[in-house]
């Protein structure tokens, strides 16, 4: 994982288990804002402040090239406004996205799909609004770190190289966001994807983080989701991805985690 600045070509865009990166031109803004409020104080002086906890996350536009390949093209994936999508926007730092890179994620309602003429390519705007109203997160924070870049795994994570140092333990829970893009195996290709934590970067010390698991899911079709820890859950300093293969023999997925604060 590199640190520092980056350029747009290394920004990915995943939605509901589909990697739309190759079609994208720009994405943003990626808002994380607190509502401003005006109150009148006793002396009649205007007082301005913000509403703690009343966060606004979302409202983003994915500007992409129109491409109509069945199922996986930008037209097939984005041309269905009025639906909710689990979106991940990871930022590779001067290189392809890898673990430890920053990621903006959430479940947002796609409000519009517009064809935009830029004079050359036929492009589209996919406009996303606020997070899903019935599955609002307990955490007013959209930015996390990648625990697993988009790639395939065929075995459990038993190493220490695929872990992310978050600097310190926290006691404010958090949530994981995952995208499963493809899988091989038998039947419905089941697997469990989860987050493990540890106070040291030693393989045997990592244990499952309560709440941060998909449970057994079918990976035969692309799927994405969000799973939250309990508020106040202790999350140790080191985090890593973990997978338990069921009938799947290989799962291609991306995983991120957002620490509560």
């Amino acid at each position: 994982m590199a640190t520092g600045r980056t350029v747009l070509k290394w920004v990915d865009f995943y939605a509901d288990g589909y990697n739309l990166t190759g079609y994208g031109r720009t994405v943003g803004p990626l808002p994380w804002e607190y509502e401003e409020v005006e109150l009148t104080a006793g002396m009649g002086d205007p007082v301005k402040g913000y509403l703690p906890g009343e966060v606004t996350i979302g409202g983003l536009t994915y500007h992409a090239v129109l491409e109509d390949t069945a199922l996986v093209g930008s037209h097939a994936r984005l041309g269905n406004p009025g639906s909710y999508n689990v979106v991940m926007v990871p930022f590779g730092i001067r290189a392809a996205v890898e673990i430890g890179d920053p990621v903006y994620a959430g479940r947002f309602e796609q409000l519009a799909y517009r064809v935009v003429d830029d004079g050359k390519a036929v492009t589209v705007d996919a406009v996303y609004g606020q997070p899903h109203i019935t599955t609002l997160l307990n955490y007013p924070k959209p930015w996390g770190l990648m625990l697993h870049e988009l790639s395939a795994e065929t075995a459990v994570n038993a190493g220490t190289g695929d872990s992310v140092d978050h600097g310190a333990q926290t006691t404010a829970g958090g949530y994981m966001v995952y995208q499963v893009f493809a899988a091989a195996g038998a039947g419905t290709r089941t697997a469990t994807i989860k987050v493990q934590d540890s106070d040291t970067n030693v393989d045997g010390d990592f244990v499952d983080l309560p709440g941060a698991t998909t449970g057994v899911i079918d990976c035969i079709n692309p799927v994405a989701g969000i799973h939250q820890c309990a508020i106040g859950e202790t999350v140790d300093r080191w985090l890593r991805w973990q997978i338990v293969l069921g009938t799947a023999t290989s799962v291609t997925f991306a995983l991120s985690f957002v620490r509560g604060r």
Binding site: G4, R5, T6, V7, K9, R94, A95
Partner: protein, 151 residues
Amino acid sequence: MAIALGLETVLTSIANLTVTDVQIRDIDEVPDAGEFRTSMLFPDPEGFITAFNVRRDSTGGGGTALMTVTYTLNYRFIFVPAGSLRNLANIYGNLAAKLIAIIEEMLENDDIAGAVDMEVQEIPTIGAVTDPSGTTWHGCTLSLRVTEFVN
């Protein structure tokens, strides 16, 4: 903070790219003349770097500010000496194939060491080009647009 441009590294990175049967030369390997039976891509001695631009991305004086540096690197590709072969159609067919291979290699390696991005900007001339000695070759000129982060 000492400013460090990656230009030299970029030039070496380009020279280290691989195209079958084409020598790609570094800035300290510009030939005095073309070599018969050797296709060569080398820094253009006449205007090697053009459109050099520095943009400050942040506040800060001297070497502190974050900056984006962009510049165009101009190369010449010499394929065969003009008049060395009779069949012009055959020459141009092979020249085009070699040029395509060069472009593909450049496009595939857009994050070479020393730069954050490299794009093939344009090929302003395909046809008669000269080597540094003034001999005319079949070849082309090629421009690469490079982006660097400084600090």
